[in-house]
Symmetry: C2
Subunit: 139 residues, 2 copies
DNA sequence: GGGCTGAATTAGACGAAGTCCAGGGTTTGT
DNA sequence: ACAAACCCTGGACTTCGTCTAATTCAGCCC
């Protein structure tokens, strides 16, 4: 999706559109996610943001990711038992997950239909559906 | 599924059928899972097994769950970021997950059809599909 | 029974992900 | 300029899970 250098200004605009005050640290974190368009873990983001020179603390990375999540700027994926992964793609989509390599691949939700679901448990309403297709390297 | 008292002997037989030497600790752990038929976390199992008098260590609980997993006696569910949950139901099925209460409910896979999936990534083969329907308490 | 041997169990140290807090800095509004 | 609100930070802390080295146990043979 996001090809080419993504300017800090555009990222700041994106944050404002979501009601997030764009601070230096928040811009760097959002930039790391949206420039790559990849699924990233918190510690990976921490490393990326501090690659040139240290400028963002661990606490801020975690706080910021939770803020982005609440403002629906990003999604959270619980797939690997060892770490949560953050997804800059908030369009409806699903994932291939290679259980050996750990690689995650997006699956557009466009044509996907799920039929035969039973009614929801009493007193609950649907929030969304996550489909994970587990794969492994051939033979 | 498993109603009524489930005897230790039957559990031992189940373990043998899966190529697992039935030790005292393994029988207790399997018993905890299969008698209830519920989704349980490792620490919950540790507490259950040691409820009367301490007899099983944390290391053994983790070792044993991984063994059961390898022998396909149980399944592992990665849904809650904070803890892995073990599922004594190995029949094909999916889950409702209440994002507020954390409650997990089985969804039989019988009538469920997923259509429109794109081809798998090159060089991978399918392992299985997990569907999680996220719900929340009404209003 | 009494040893022998590999498998199973254990306490407790360790590692990694994530949370929390109190203090200090920065922005905003007037 | 001043206060209030907001933001960031180091580092202690919690929790889940893993690892290791030492012990115990189970099955087997004599
Ligand atoms: Mn992480
Ligand atoms: Mn646990
Ligand atoms: Zn994705
Ligand atoms: Zn289940």
């Amino acid at each position: 999706m996001n090809r080419q250098a993504l300017s800090r200004e555009k990222v700041a605009g994106l944050l404002r559109q979501h009601g997030i005050t764009p601070t230096h640290q928040r811009i760097e974190i959002a930039h790391a996610l949206f420039e790559r368009g990849e699924h990233l873990s918190a510690d990976r983001i921490l490393a990326l943001v501090n690659a040139r020179h240290a400028e963002t603390s661990k606490a801020t990375v975690y706080n910021t990711l939770k803020l982005f999540l609440k403002k629906k700027l990003i999604r959270e994926l619980i797939i690997d038992p060892a770490k949560v992964v953050y997804d800059p793609n908030t369009a409806a989509h699903h994932h291939f997950y290679d259980v050996v390599t750990g690689k995650l691949t997006d699956v557009p939700a466009d044509d996907i239909r799920v039929s035969g679901l039973p009614p929801l448990p009493k007193g609950t309403v649907a929030e969304g559906v996550d489909i994970i297709i587990r794969t492994r390297p051939q033979s």
